[in-house]
């Protein structure tokens, strides 16, 4: 019942794309060797025409995606066709070039097209791999529920810390305040943890801000204090604080991974779509220049 976009209707569009590619390759191979194998022949024009039409249609997905009332096929069908025909485009246009490249607008258009297709392939791989990971990482919870749990743990940490000397309250508060989630595109994509914490200094020394990735610094600090604690009530509170810090670490990892996967699912579009516009511009320049200098 649930069918992935690659498997859509028994891979209908894969077979269409394969057939299209085979016909083009066959036509190219059977071409009269007397003529140069480039865009200037009748076959070249035909391949170029097919390529240009495909590019326009592929770019039209952006419009179809936003036509929410459209009854022109399902969006899933469009995306499935978009993937397979987009891959076919690479072969068709490469044949159209006749493998003649140079420092000109024609090759620019070709390179941009390759960039769009490459980013699209990345997108497909991400779309196929990441949703399952995203779902597994959240373990049946929503992001709102995870952040809710985090807020609850933070509140409990502050309450438990309140039973200890004031420096622990400061510690819990700063661990909370200096936790970083996201923090820039690169950090988001790498899943980097740039959290910090203000650690109380040892034996009367001044407090210092240290990096706290994976809440490591807090956990280390607490375990060190715990190993030296002799007061029963204090040990109890420290143990609680420790287990809260550990739970915090797990939740933060989940949230960070969630944000990372979501970022990857979106970032490729920031290449795919703008370069598509560049491609359309280069394509127009390519077509105009070809016809003007005919």
């Amino acid at each position: 019942m649930h069918e992935s976009l690659l498997a859509y209707r028994r891979k209908r569009f894969l077979w269409i794309a394969v057939a299209l590619v085979l016909i083009c390759v066959l036509a190219y191979a059977l071409q009269d060797d007397a003529e140069p194998h480039d865009g200037g022949t009748w076959l070249g024009y035909t391949l170029g025409g097919i390529g240009a039409a495909l590019i326009l249609w592929l770019a039209a997905l952006g419009l179809r995606k936003r036509s929410y009332r459209s009854t022109l096929g399902s969006l899933q069908g469009w995306v499935s066709a978009h993937v397979y025909l987009g891959l076919a485009l690479l072969v068709i246009v490469t044949l159209h070039t006749g493998f003649q490249f140079g420092w000109n607008v024609h090759t620019l258009a070709y390179v941009l097209m390759c960039l769009v297709i490459a980013s699209g392939v990345v997108g497909v791989v991400l779309y196929v791999r990441y949703p399952r990971e995203l779902s597994a990482n959240r373990a049946s919870l929503t992001r709102a529920q995870l952040t809710g749990q985090l807020a609850e743990i933070d509140a409990r940490s502050l309450r438990v810390a309140g039973r200890l000397p004031p420096e622990y309250r400061d510690l819990a508060q700063s661990a909370r305040d200096r936790t970083r989630l996201g923090d820039g595109v690169l950090a988001l994509l790498r899943g980097a943890d740039r959290s910090q914490v203000l650690l109380p200094g040892a034996a009367g020394g001044g407090a210092s801000i240290v990096m706290n990735p994976g809440q490591r610094a807090v956990i280390d600090f607490l375990s060190e204090r715990l190993s030296r604690s002799s007061d029963g009530a204090q040990t109890q509170a420290l143990t609680e604080l420790m287990s809260l810090a550990a739970a915090r670490r797990v939740l933060l990892e989940q949230l960070r991974r969630d944000a990372q996967l979501k970022a990857w699912l979106q970032i490729w579009l920031y290449v795919h779509v703008p370069v598509t516009f560049g491609l359309l511009a280069a394509l127009i320049a390519h077509v105009l220049s070809v016809f003007l200098y005919w």
Binding site: M1, Y68, R69, L75, Q76, Y127, Y130, R138, S140
Partner: protein
């Protein structure tokens, strides 16, 4: 005898006054009645227990838009009323009361009414008695808040409602009652007051999950305190030592003894006392014990007690305009004037194109006489039913409804006949004639139509919507009995003996029983001896078996299917446990009846055996996928047991682009009716917050203007006549209904929810807009198949 004229100002020294009309309750109906009496110069008194008119509307949120449904009904009242803000409505009424010098007595709580026309004795709290020739009951259905019932409950610090939690600061406030009302009050107050909750038990299980969690969190964080297993004992003025903390003390019993809690304020939210007991104590008879049943009234709104009239919600008319019209009319009737009811022109319009004589009362009487089912109804009740119904004169051969339509209205044949086409592969037709009815199967089960109905020549039909019939069924036992009997006979025929006549099946139908099961109640257990077969008439059931010491759900059956056939066909022991997943009704056949059916119809044995084979195969399939059972259990908990169409998201495909929500918003005035991310997930199957289009929708239950309907394609939708009361939002167990303004901010809020994109070509936009195929809609027939596939892909 000359009656004394009422004076606008009540003279307290006068121990008992005598009026022509005493109106009890200053709601819309009562206000309208008293003002009309004042306008006509009739001696009257309006008794209101609270301190102001229109108590319910007073309690509306500030600036709330008050609707004036039904729009087609003209208003008949000396008071002004139309769709407007709460403040405007109240101001207009207050002005009307002053202008006509209406004799209102506020804070006059009636404790007893005795006597009959022309001498009623009305006793007020405090013992004062008022004499009246006639009494108009206009007290509504809200009832009075249940009192604390302890010494000191009259102290001014006790209140039974909380209008604005922001009004109170730094007070010690005790909230009694742990239902949603109590918890919501406590939560609203606890940020800036010291709130103590009093819980007579140890749990908060009567409240919604959200409220419960928020309160437990607040208690855990010591932001609110709570006494469990506690009981209110008394409320007193604080003694000198305690004065410093708060002016009052609330004394409670707790498991370890007694506690004295300082209090500025006590808020009691311990439910309401329904007015029915009081109404009955005045001699008014209700036709059944069903809490929704209405007192029997004459066309002039007179109850069985002569001179005692009932108008408004208590008489079954919950809308403001209806109640106001009745207030006007009841005064006219009391004075002996003959006026046409306000709905008269509506009937004229309704009957205009009928091939019947053109006189409203005559047509109504004619219809009622033709239809045995309605013959014993009182005329007012029938008129109400007819007003809510449609009369059709369809052309011969035209389709009334089609098999598998989701409509649920109920038809009676006033004139002519209809033909019903039943059966799947071998179709056959039955003819129903004058006075007979059809459509009850879908009405009672919430399921699709089981056959197609064609109009015969000269056919006139009365089509009543589900709500009107349900109102009737809860009030008139006889109608319910007849419908149930007919349902059983027709259900048996449709399932097992399509060719048999009604008479042939009568002995079997008479032996069949209608059984009701609560959620999770077992129809039978694995290992029980098998002696009955169940036809599921409404609701749905889950089938489970003990596997490795654990109960595993292996299948699910929606209404319209039968269960228990395996035991009857094969062995004598049940091979599985069958439990209701939602409140469920079944038609129960004993073994002897079933074997009689098998004898009658040689093909039935083959058909049932085929079903048995299919089920055994499905069982084996499900047992090889242990996670499938868990997935079924999960989905049933999400309400799929009563769903007809539900949106599910496969999380292994969803990239979180939210195009489904964007598509929903773009096709519905900019507001998405689905929350993609919210909602539970199990085994990568996510159930977003979106309407399940339940078979027996809870949202429909309590909709004053009957705005929630079911379209032929199954969609449960909210019509334009929604008055924005929010009942459906509260009643929906799945949280899928929201109150939204449609366009500009000034518009009144109305309920919105998924309408399955009715009227849009191509079906639901959410599914069509999903780029990866993650979003699909599933109906119960495909449910088990879906689970089996989903479980395999985990």
């Amino acid at each position: 005898m000359e009656l004394p004229r009422s004076s606008p100002v009540h003279d307290a020294a006068q121990m008992s006054e005598r009026f022509k009309i005493a109106v009890i309750g200053a709601g819309p109906g009562g206000l309208s009645a008293a003002t009309h009496a004042a306008e006509l110069g009739v001696s009257h008194v309006l008794l209101e227990q609270s301190g102001a008119p229109a108590n319910t509307i007073q309690r509306f949120q500030k600036r709330k838009h008050v609707m004036a449904e039904p729009g087609v009904l003209p208003l008949r009242s000396p008071l002004v009323f139309g769709p407007a803000r709460r403040e405007e409505v109240l101001a207009a009424w207050t002005e009307g009361l002053a202008k006509h010098h209406v004799n209102v007595r506020y804070n006059a709580k009636v404790t007893n009414i005795s006597g009959a026309r022309p001498e009623f004795v009305i006793t007020l709290a405090g013992g004062e008695q008022i004499l009246a020739e006639t009494v108009v009951f206009a007290i509504g259905l809200q009832g009075n808040p249940r009192q604390l019932g302890i010494p000191g409950e009259d102290l001014p610090c006790v209140q039974y409602q909380l209008d604005d939690p922001e009004e109170y600061r730094d007070e010690a406030i005790i909230v009694v009652g742990v239902g949603d009302a109590g918890l919501e009050n406590a939560l609203g107050l606890h940020g800036h007051n010291r709130v103590t909750l009093l819980n007579t038990g140890t749990e908060f299980d009567r409240a919604k999950e959200g409220n419960r969690n928020a309160v437990l969190q607040a208690i855990d964080a010591a932001a609110m305190s709570c006494y469990y297993s506690s009981k209110a004992v008394a409320l007193e003025l604080a003694n000198e030592a305690e004065q410093a903390q708060a002016p009052y003390v609330f004394i409670i019993d707790i498991p370890t003894g007694q506690a004295r809690l300082p209090a500025h304020r006590v808020i009691a939210r311990i439910g309401a006392v329904a007015p029915r007991k009081f109404v009955e104590s005045c001699g008014i008879v209700f036709p059944s014990a069903d809490p929704t049943s209405l007192p029997a009234l004459s066309l002039q709104y007179e109850s069985n007690v002569q001179g005692l009239y009932v108008i408004g919600a208590l008489g079954g008319y919950p809308l403001i305009k209806q109640a106001m019209n009745q207030g006007f009319e009841v005064v006219e009737y009391i004075l002996g004037h003959k006026i046409e009811p306000a709905d008269h022109p509506l009937f004229v319009e309704k009957f205009r194109r009928l091939p019947l004589p053109q006189n409203v009362d005559a047509i109504l009487a004619f219809i009622q006489q033709r239809v045995p089912l309605y013959r014993d109804l009182n005329t007012l009740m029938f008129r109400e039913l007819a007003l809510g119904s449609d009369v059709h004169a369809p052309q011969a051969g035209s389709v009334i409804f089609r098999k598998n339509d989701y409509s649920n209205s109920f038809y009676v044949i006033v004139q002519g006949s209809v033909e019903i086409e039943l059966g799947d592969s071998d179709r056959y037709r039955l003819t129903l004639g004058e006075g007979e009815f059809f459509g009850e199967i879908s009405l009672l089960s919430g399921r699709r139509r089981s056959g197609t109905v064609y109009a015969g020549a000269g056919c006139v039909l009365l089509e009543s919507p589900r709500r009107e019939i349900n109102k009737l069924l809860s009030s008139v036992e006889a109608v319910k009995r007849v419908l149930d009997q007919q349902f059983i006979a027709r259900a048996i025929r449709a399932a097992f003996a399509p060719q048999a006549s009604q008479e042939d099946l009568k002995p079997i139908a008479d032996r069949a029983q209608l059984k009701r099961y609560k959620t999770d109640e077992a129809l039978f257990h694995e290992g029980d001896s098998a002696d009955t077969l169940h036809l599921v008439r409404s609701g749905s059931v889950a089938i489970s078996r003990m596997l490795g010491g654990r109960e595993v759900v292996t299948s699910y059956l929606a209404a319209g299917n039968y269960v228990g056939e395996m035991g009857l066909m094969g062995g004598t022991r049940r091979s599985a446990t069958v439990k209701a997943t939602v409140p469920t009704e079944t038609v129960c056949l004993d073994a002897a009846s079933f074997s009689q059916l098998l004898e009658r119809n040689p093909r039935l044995r083959d058909a049932v055996q085929a079903t048995v084979r299919k089920r055994i195969a499905a069982n084996v399939e499900m047992q090889s996928q242990p996670q499938a059972g868990d997935l079924i259990s999960f989905l049933l908990r999400q309400g799929l047991g009563e769903a007809t169409d539900v949106l599910l998201i496969d999380e292994t495909l969803c990239v979180g682009c939210d195009n489904c929500e964007k598509a929903c918003a773009a096709t519905h005035d900019g507001t998405s009716r689905l929350g993609r991310e919210a909602g539970p997930t199990f085994a990568h199957v996510h159930v977003p917050t979106s309407c399940r289009h339940c078979e027996n929708p809870q949202c429909m239950k309590d909709c004053p203007p009957d705005a929630i309907r079911r379209a032929p394609n199954g969609e449960v939708f909210i019509g334009d006549n929604c008055i924005g009361c929010g009942n459906c939002e509260r009643n929906c167990p799945y949280g899928v209904i929201h109150m939204e303004t449609s366009g500009s901010k000034d518009d009144a809020k109305k309920a919105v929810k998924c309408d399955m994109c009715s009227g849009q070509a191509g079906g639901p936009a959410c599914v069509r807009a999903c780029p990866t195929g993650a979003a699909i809609r599933v109906s119960p027939e495909k449910f088990v198949e879906f689970v089996s596939r989903a479980a395999r892909s985990v």
